[in-house]
Symmetry: C2
Subunit: 155 residues, 2 copies
DNA sequence: ATGTAATTGAAAATACTTTTCAATTAGATT
DNA sequence: AATCTAATTGAAAAGTATTTTCAATTACAT
C-alpha cells in the first residue's frame, strides 16, 4: 500500500472511522491511481484485492474521503462522476483530456480577479473553484492513432 | 418573452431548429431566471405557460441550448444538474450560495497562472474553468432566519 | 476472549436521463 | 389557405447512477 494510502488510513482513524479491509482496498486504489476514477472503476480495481467488496461500500468510502478533503470530485463536460486524490490543503486539478491523468497544483493567486469581481458585483466571495484541461506530456508524444485511456469512454 | 429569449429563438432558427411552443416556454424560463435551475425546475416553471410540456423535451431543449453555448451547466458541491444562461463568449459563473443567483463575469486573466502551471507540469493547457461562490448583495442584507431560496433544497 | 457499535453486502428503492415510437406540428411550398 | 414533410412531441419503457434498508459481520476497545 502506498504511503499516501497509509496516511489516509491514519486520518480515517483520527476522524473516528474504523479501518476495514474494504476501506483499505478503496484507499489503495485511489491513492495509487494517477487518473480520475468513477465509483464503478474504483469498484472494479479494488475488487482485485478485495473480491467481496460491495459497490455500496465504495460509494460510502468515497463520501468519507470527500468529507475529509482527501479526495475531490472531478467535473468534466461528460459528467461529474469521477474522483481524484486531493492531498489536503487548497489545491486545484489539472486534467489530461486524453488519458485522464490528474495533477494537483497550488498557488493560484486569484486575489486581484476575485477582488475585482467582488467590487463589480457586490458579492462577498467565499470560495473559488478552478480546473484546467489540457494534454499531458506523455499524450503529447503519442501519435493520434495510439491507444489512449479515458477518451471516448462513453459513446 | 424577454429580449434574451427572443434572441435565443433566432439562434435556434439559425442553427436549423424549429421554434416550437414548447421550446419557447423553456427558453423563456431560463432566460428570465436569475438562478440556476435543474431540468425538473425548468419543467415546473415552463408548464405554467405550456401545460402539455414533457420533461423529455426539457432535457432535449437544454441539450440544444448547451450545444449552442447559450446555457451552461452549473457545478455545485451538491450536484451538477442545474443550468444557467451563458450569453455567448467566454465567461464564468459567480453563484450565490444562499439564493442560487448566478451572475456571469468575464475578463479572467489567468495567463500568468496558466503559463506557470504549463511550465511546471509540461502540460499543454487547452481550457480552464472557473466558478466563484459567495453571497449576493440581497442575501447579505437578509437576516439569517429569513427565507432564502436554494439552500438546503435537498436534505 | 468478549462486547458493542460501526460497518458490511445484497436487494430494494429512489433519482436521473435517454431511448423508442406513433402522433402531432412548424414552417416551406404551393 | 391548403398541402406536404421532416422535425418534434409526450408517454412509456429502458437504462444508468445512487441511496436506503436491514440482518449479518467485524474492528477494536475493554
Amino acid at each position: 500500500m502506498s504511503t499516501e494510502a497509509e496516511e489516509w488510513g491514519k486520518q480515517l482513524r483520527l476522524a473516528g472511522y474504523k479501518l476495514t479491509r474494504q476501506r483499505r482496498a478503496v484507499l489503495a486504489v485511489i491513492a495509487a491511481g494517477e487518473t480520475h476514477l468513477s465509483p464503478a472503476e474504483v469498484y472494479d480495481q479494488a475488487r482485485i484485492a478485495c473480491p467481496d467488496l460491495g459497490l455500496t461500500t465504495v460509494y460510502r468510502t468515497l463520501e468519507i474521503l470527500s468529507e475529509l478533503g482527501l479526495v475531490r470530485r472531478v467535473h468534466l463536460e461528460k459528467g461529474c462522476h469521477s474522483f481524484a486524490s486531493a492531498s489536503g490543503g487548497h489545491s486545484h486539478h489539472l486534467i489530461c483530456n486524453k488519458c485522464g491523468e490528474v495533477i494537483e497544483f497550488e498557488g493560484c493567486d486569484l486575489s486581484p480577479l476575485l477582488e475585482r469581481v467582488a467590487q463589480r458585483t457586490g458579492f462577498v466571495i467565499e470560495a473559488h473553484w478552478l480546473e484546467l484541461f489540457g494534454t499531458c506530456p506523455a499524450c503529447q508524444r503519442v501519435s493520434e492513432n495510439s491507444p489512449q485511456r479515458h477518451q471516448d469512454t462513453k459513446k
